[in-house]
């Protein structure tokens, strides 16, 4: 009788561990998308151009072709470099200082009283996060802004400032 109870306990334990392992492995299914797509999915999509490419997608394609290195993306930071290194089976390396430094997430904000409605920042924004029209007040849509800083330089009256990004609703990736 004791043996039967022991075996039942063993079977339950094996079943539980087996189901846990199965559920875990289900999430490891291999990714069959093209390499450039998988690299692009790891990039932060700020479209800031700090990697010296026009945007995240061109940079991803350059990495896939072997033309660019993996440590040129400051917004992705250390975590991004680690993810790219793991995907490509290479050794991670520190962020290249010539491309910039890692910063906390930020968004742009236009000081309304100073904006002259010149439309230059709207033309510069790579993600269409600035709303407005010539001779009308412009405003940054916070949810779309990636904090790429590309609108700062074109502004003739210097009315755009960067502030820390609000906490995202979804804290976990």
């Amino acid at each position: 009788m004791a043996l039967l109870a022991d075996l039942l306990l063993w079977l339950l334990l094996v079943l539980g561990l087996g189901l846990a392992l199965r559920a875990l492995l289900r999430r490891h299914r291999p990714d069959n998308r093209p390499l450039a797509d998988r690299i692009d999915a790891l990039l932060p999509q700020t479209q800031c151009g700090q990697c010296h490419y026009p945007g995240c997608r061109p940079y991803a394609e350059a990495i896939a072709k072997g033309e660019a290195d993996i440590h040129q993306c400051p917004p992705g930071g250390e975590a991004g470099i680690r993810a790219l290194a793991a995907l490509l089976g290479r050794e991670p390396k520190p962020l290249s200082p010539e491309h910039g430094v890692e910063k906390p997430a930020q968004v742009a904000r236009i000081r309304e009283t100073e904006c002259i409605g010149c439309f230059k920042c709207i033309a510069a924004c790579p993600v269409d996060a600035i709303l407005g029209a010539p001779k009308f007040l412009h405003v940054v849509i916070e949810d779309l802004c990636t904090g790429c800083e590309l609108c700062i330089a074109p502004c003739p009256v210097d009315c755009i400032e960067l502030r820390p990004a609000p906490l995202p609703l979804r804290l976990l990736p």
Partner: protein, 185 residues
């Protein structure tokens, strides 16, 4: 002190696992941390299955009076087959490599051998509990080494120390800390 011995064995196994897993993921995860977790879980699964089979086997061959380590080693083989079947069915894309199976067999037998107590021949619930606890300890150690490795990979370290040497140094410090911390001197 038997606990310290078991802990040192677990640190050794976790280190060996990390050194092998550095060369590439074995279970198809995209991040080393998830891969390490999956390997630890698969090892514990193999060990638990083997402990049960060893208990049955021990009863069956009592007349031969084999020592329990031999019974446990014999039980690892069918347990490994069960793990392989499970891996095949839940990960159809990735063939279970011989490297992975060898790693799992080594983990399960090393942890099983290091367990204190009378062994697998009597007291199945007790040995299952011990196996589970040692397995969790092994998993935590493996995750610690993985995180340690990941954190240090992107820092500016002298080229001579980069990678494996740094991991070995970290493991040494960890083992020293565990020993001194548990013994108190």
């Amino acid at each position: 002190m038997p606990t310290t011995g078991l802990l040192l064995v677990l640190i050794g196994i976790a280190l060996a696992n990390r050194l092998l897993l550095r060369r590439g993921p074995l279970l198809g995860a995209r991040r080393p941390l998830q891969d390490g977790f999956a390997v630890a879980l698969a090892s514990v699964f193999t060990l638990i299955v083997a402990l049960g089979i060893a208990a049955l086997l021990g009863r069956a061959v009592q007349a031969l009076a084999w020592p329990s380590p031999v019974v446990l080693l014999l039980a690892i083989v069918p347990a490994l087959l069960a793990t392989r079947l499970l891996l095949r069915r839940s990960l159809p894309g990735i063939p279970s490599s011989p490297r992975l199976l060898a790693l799992l067999a080594g983990n399960a037998s090393a942890i099983g051998m290091a367990l204190p107590g009378p062994g697998a021949l009597e007291g199945l619930p007790m040995s299952l509990l011990q196996g589970l606890a040692a397995g969790i300890g092994f998993g935590v150690l493996l995750l610690m080494f993985t995180v340690h490795d990941e954190r240090l990979a992107t820092t500016a370290v002298p080229a001579a120390l980069r990678g494996t040497p740094l991991l070995l140094l970290g493991a040494t410090v960890l083992a020293l800390a565990v020993l001194l911390g548990l013994r108190g001197h």
